[in-house]
């Protein structure tokens, strides 16, 4: 039998993957040793049981049986059964428990690592992809490390033992009996690979149906307005029919795979019945041998089925493990300076010296030769989508790496300061607002968890969100999310603004942070927060010119470059692009010709 070689498939036992698991195995070695001892205990007790049955049957056949002997045999069988039950409890608890510990350790490690990676990494890897790593891939590893490990050890022991006993009775008959078994092992492997593929296809179809239903129901008012009910139902009907087809394809494999092991087992039984029967008739083996042979044969069916299944399990586990390992090996390009020196910002002056930045795999730079000094006061940034405004923000907040001699904070190169130090000088309102499924209070206090209720209310008032928060059932304690309150885009932006205001930091960056707020509210907010922004370095990115009109300087960006700078009046007179936007936002007739 090629049990060992089948199991020791190259992928699984390659040192590369195991190096990730080795510390975990070492850590729980006692648990593993005990667990596998218990597993061996189960196997040996199981092999002993038929001997007591045989002793009783033999005694009955020869007429030597007494009630005492029968009671003794029955007692031993029960005793063994108790031993089996205890050992079974132990291995289940110890080894499956181990696989769960391993899962937990790996998941924690994965997340700890992800938290250290920079934004460039998260641009290459979507949230969905990383989620799949934590859910699907870890589950595959856990399954391989738990049931996979158990089943393979168990199958090996049982196979070797049963084959040994059978060969002891009659080697030729053993060869005949196990002849169909390799077919089972191979076909199980062949089929279960297909089973997996087709199962995945079914799941994908299920997922796209779910997504279809979700998007249909979430814009149901529009569908009704366009009278698309019938059309949508027809589309859904088509998807449902595809789903049936994929399920049927899957069940063809399922219908073959699972009864197939029984079928092969019965084929072996048939061979033993015929050839073994002939041997018995010819007197080569005894009747007792024949019966024992049949019972050992039954013991082989399970390991044979298990081999195909286990190989598949290990392969999937190994593939998943290598995916996890790949992520764990990613190093952030943004290095954190290891300086313990304390740094307090004085002037809050940011100087960018010939800053250029190109995303990996892109020909054109996202930022090119940007030279600017941000001092106390307000600087506005305006430009088309894709002109590099948000990239600039990500560099300023230290999400992307910069070379040395490019980015200075209070005339200190940021590369010599730790990330946390630099970030601690900045209050940032991002373009994409992030609200966590927590209470509103916790959302506002994100950067300052110990903020008092008064402080929180004050910034909420400044961001013109206080009254709306009170209108929610539980006020500041209302939870945000599917089961809690739903926030509009404008409300989310104002909460994000309040969050930044709470921090009271020397540098404030607002990246188009009020785009979803109506003009009237925006105006009110800008008035209210102006006192907060006194004496701070303030960078505001906007699509609208109105809030920037009073800025000390406005930067006009295009294709990663600063193409014009100056105050509102200068730009209005000297820059066509700026003048066009202005005209469009104030009076459309000026533009229409």
């Amino acid at each position: 039998m090629s049990v060992n070689s089948t199991l020791k498939s190259r992928q699984v036992f390659s040192g590369k993957n195991l190096s990730l698991l080795a510390p975990v195995f070492r850590r729980y070695r006692l648990r593993l040793i005990l667990g596998f001892t218990a597993l061996l205990g189960v196997d040996s007790f199981q092999l002993l049981t038929p001997r007591f049955i045989k002793r009783a049957v033999d005694a009955l056949e020869t007429g030597k049986a007494s009630n005492a002997l029968l009671l003794q045999c029955a007692g031993y069988i029960l005793l063994l059964a108790l031993g089996i039950a205890c050992c079974r409890f132990l291995w289940r608890y110890l080894i499956i428990g181990f696989s769960r510990l391993l899962e937990r350790d790996l998941r924690d490690r994965l997340v700890a690592h992800l938290l250290t990676l920079d934004s460039l990494f998260f641009q290459r890897h979507t949230t969905g992809e990383l989620m799949a790593l934590s859910s699907n891939d870890l589950a595959a590893v856990q399954l391989a490390a738990g049931m996979g490990l158990i089943a393979s050890v168990d199958a090996m022991v049982m196979t070797l033992a049963a084959l040994g006993f059978m060969a002891y009775i009659n080697p030729t008959l053993t060869v005949i009996a196990v002849a169909p078994m390799p077919i089972l092992a191979f076909s199980a492997r062949f089929l279960s690979a297909r089973l997996h593929r087709r199962f995945k296809r079914v799941q994908e179809q299920f997922a796209s149906m779910t997504e279809f239903v979700r998007s249909t129901l979430s814009s149901v008012h529009l569908l009704k307005a366009y009278t698309q009910e019938q059309f949508q139902a027809e589309q859904f009907d088509r998807m449902g029919k595809d789903y049936i087809r994929h399920n049927l394809r899957l069940s063809v494999i399922q219908g073959l795979l699972f009864p197939f092991s029984g079928f092969i087992g019965n084929c072996s039984l048939l061979l033993v019945l015929f050839f073994g029967g002939r041997l018995t008739v010819q007197g080569t083996i005894t009747v007792g041998d024949f019966v024992a042979f049949v019972s050992y044969l039954f013991m082989l069916t399970w390991p044979m089925t298990a081999i195909g299944w286990v190989t598949n399990l290990f392969q999937r586990g190994a593939t998943s493990l290598s995916r996890i390992k790949h992520i764990l090996e990613q190093e952030p390009e943004l290095h954190d300076a290891v300086s313990s020196e304390s740094f307090t910002v004085n002037s809050g002056t940011i100087r960018l010296n010939r800053l250029s930045f190109t995303y990996a795999g892109q020909a054109d730079p996202a930022l090119e030769d940007v030279n600017v000094v941000f001092k106390k006061g307000l600087v506005g940034v305006i430009g088309k989508t894709g002109s590099g405004k948000t990239t600039l923000c990500h560099i300023l907040t230290r999400l992307y790496p910069v070379d040395e001699g490019v980015f200075f904070l209070d005339e200190r190169d940021v590369n010599t300061l730790s990330l946390a130090t630099v970030r601690a000088t900045i209050a940032y309102v991002p373009q994409e607002t992030t609200i966590f499924s927590e209470t509103i209070q916790a959302n506002i206090a994100l950067g300052k968890m110990d903020a008092s209720m008064e402080e929180i209310e004050r910034v909420a008032k400044a961001a013109s969100i206080h009254d709306e928060i009170l209108a929610f059932g539980d006020g500041y304690q209302s939870r945000v999310g599917e089961k809690g309150v739903k926030l509009s885009g404008g409300q989310r932006q104002r909460i994000a603004l309040a969050r930044a205001l709470l921090l009271d930091r020397p540098i404030v960056i607002i990246d188009d942070g009020l785009s979803a707020v109506d003009t009237e509210t925006e105006h009110a907010i800008l008035q209210q927060i102006s006192s907060y922004l006194q004496g701070k370095t303030c960078i505001v990115i906007s699509h609208r010119i109105a809030p920037l009109a009073e800025a000390d300087e406005i930067l006009v960006m295009d294709k990663g470059k600063i193409v014009a700078r100056g105050d509102h009046q200068t730009l209005l007179a000297g820059n066509t692009f700026y003048a066009t936007i202005y005209a469009h936002q104030t009076d459309s007739r000026a533009r229409k010709g």
Binding site: L70, P259, H543
Partner: protein
């Protein structure tokens, strides 16, 4: 592992013995009774084959192998005969089993497809108030997971449960027939096994529920953390996030360990019962043989059948919980199917085929639950004219659109189109004559062409004209596959500005009498802004327009402007008149751009 879109269903145990529910479930399978009857016939073949095999082995031993009174050649010949029968039986068993699996899957999937389709159509027929009261995550769960639960019951449980039941009965009958005394002793084990199984299935269900809940927590926490990782890093919340995450994974570990312990106790317990039965057979059956009440062959058969008996029992508890969860799902599904729309749509079409597109609201009142949204609203739009509605968030602008689209019915007052009360018109007919462009745009995962046309059919030249008018031509030209480019899930992602243009193309393709436009508040870049502006102009041409306006250019284009505040009209007139008036309107306009007002004064 399935989990809904942010919605996590509280697991609820269904009432397995609810006869009304069963009748309703069964009514879905009645049309397929032939397929189901075939499946049941096949299951008799499968069970027959599996029960016949131990009997064949016994026959082989008793009749030929140990029968020394026969000639050796005859005995071997007999064995050959038996082997031939044996092959026939195992092949028949295997084939029947395969056919049964396929047949059941096919039938089950067909029934579930019908149920899903029925539920989907039913949901789409419900009014908007229903969708406001039910989070979409919950409704998605009904259509996906609940249906799936029922399907599992249909295919894997009902028939296997039936198979197992027949098998257990068959084994009991054989055992009693062979030796009723021993069989009777063994049957005392039955209540013990059943009790054990039921108890276990309840505990296991709770354990799995706890595991699912905990995993869903981990997933949603991780989803949230990963999608907002930049914010977490900027606000230096990494350590705190990690700590919270390890708390979640630790709790998950605890629930898993509980489940492991549970299975580690109950799974071996079933085997213990099985060994107990074996010991009983050896001791009591052996005694019977000594007293010559029983044969050795019978004892061997007892041992073999006992093994067959315990196989289905192991899985019984698992199947019972599938039935329970399916019943809970069925209850939820039927509950939804029994929900009827708040008002029934009128089927009649108006007797006035050529309409001009005159809209009037007369003393309309409307409230959501208790909150008054519109009070005594009246206005009139002449055919071909454009009305702009201006006002702060929450002033009731969108509600006007909802009432005109007849998503809701007004509490008081009437809405008329060409003098006809819209509550007397067929809703479908009405909506086909209204073109709606909103801030949100639904995209179906298909080509741009299909997304514009939806269920309409128009000529290629007409389509090209529409794409030009909607300012989409530039976008389409840039794409290598042009109109055939797939957008939406798994395809090209349209920007919000491009989606707006698509929405205009859609409306133009439907050529409605009246255009209703709810302008997007969020800004797009100025190039797209200009395109949207042109698209609005060409869509409004020769149509009655009702526009919730945010852009100055749109407002200026309107023939008449109403300014809303708290559900009432506070000012109206044209742009010049309203500006001259110096009221709310003027204030709003000045905010758009005015130097004299204070701005950010950072220095």
């Amino acid at each position: 592992m399935r989990y809904g879109y942010g919605y996590f269903e509280e697991d609820k145990l269904g009432k397995v013995a609810d006869m009304g529910l069963w009748r309703r479930i069964i009514s879905y399978s009645v049309p397929y009774w032939k397929r189901l009857a075939t499946a049941i016939l096949l299951s008799f073949v499968v069970i027959g084959a599996s029960l016949a095999l131990p009997h064949m082995v016994r026959l082989g031993i008793d009749r030929y192998i140990v029968n020394t009174s026969m000639e050796i050649s005859l005995r071997i010949g007999g064995l050959g005969m038996l082997a031939a029968f044996f092959i026939g039986i195992i092949v028949a068993g295997f084939v029947a089993n395969f056919l049964q699996v396929i047949l059941l899957e096919w039938t089950g999937q067909t029934i579930m497809h019908e149920m899903r389709q029925q539920l989907f159509r039913h949901m789409l027929g419900l009014d908007l108030a229903f969708f406001n009261n039910n989070p979409s995550g919950k409704l998605v769960t009904r259509l996906t997971n609940d249906i799936q639960n029922m399907h599992e019951m249909f295919t894997s449980v009902i028939v296997t449960l039936f198979n197992d039941f027949i098998k257990l009965i068959g084994i009991m009958v054989i055992l009693f027939w062979m030796n009723w005394r021993l069989a009777l002793i063994l049957s005392f084990l039955l209540p013990l096994i059943t009790g054990n199984t039921l108890w276990f299935s309840r505990l296991a269900r709770d354990a799995f529920r706890a595991i699912r809940t905990q995993l869903a927590r981990i997933n949603s926490f991780l989803q949230e953390s990963l999608s907002s990782i930049a914010v977490l890093q900027i606000f230096t919340r990494q350590e705190d996030t990690y700590k919270k995450f390890t708390e979640l994974t630790h709790a998950y570990l605890q629930t898993n360990v509980y489940q492991i312990k549970l299975f580690a106790i109950f799974m071996p317990a079933i085997d213990l019962f099985s060994s107990f039965a074996t010991a009983c057979i050896i001791w009591y059956g052996g005694g019977q043989i000594i007293q010559e009440q029983m044969s050795l062959g019978e004892l061997a058969a007892f041992l073999a059948y006992m093994r067959l008996f315990f196989q289905p029992i192991r899985e019984l508890s698992q199947k019972y919980s599938i039935v329970q969860s399916a019943m809970a799902s069925a209850e939820r599904i039927f509950q939804l199917l029994d929900t009827s729309p708040a008002y029934s749509p009128v089927r009649l079409e108006p007797d006035q085929p050529d309409m001009k597109g005159e809209v009037s609201f007369q003393h309309v009142h409307f409230s959501y639950d208790t909150e008054q949204v519109l009070s005594d609203l009246s206005f009139h739009v002449a055919p071909g004219k454009t009305l702009a509605i201006v006002g702060a968030t929450g002033s009731g602008k969108s509600t006007i659109v909802h009432l005109l689209e007849r998503f809701y019915a007004p509490d008081k007052g009437t809405i008329r189109i060409d003098g006809q009360d819209i509550s007397t018109l067929n809703t479908q007919w009405l909506r086909e004559r209204l073109g709606l462009v909103m801030q949100s745009v639904f995209i179906i995962p298909a080509s741009i062409r299909e997304n514009i046309l939806l269920d309409k059919e128009i000529s290629e030249t007409e389509l090209n004209r529409i794409i030009d008018k909607a300012q989409l031509a530039g976008v389409v030209k840039q794409l290598p596959e042009g109109l055939e480019t797939r957008i939406g899930e798994g395809g090209l992602e349209f920007s919000s500005g491009q989606k707006q243009l698509l929405a205009f193309a859609r409306v133009l393709a439907r050529d409605p009498l009246i255009l209703i436009l709810d302008e997007a508040t969020s800004s797009v870049d100025s190039a797209t802004e200009i395109l949207i502006d042109r698209a609005i102009a060409s869509t409004l041409a020769n149509r009655t327009g009702i526009v919730i306006a945010h852009r100055l250019s749109t407002i200026r284009r309107a023939d008449h402007i109403i300014v809303m505040d708290k559900g009432r009209i506070v000012e109206q007139g044209n742009h010049e008149a309203l500006m001259a008036n110096g009221g709310i309107y003027r204030h709003l306009q000045e905010l758009q751009f005015n130097h004299s007002e204070p701005k950010i004064n950072a220095v």
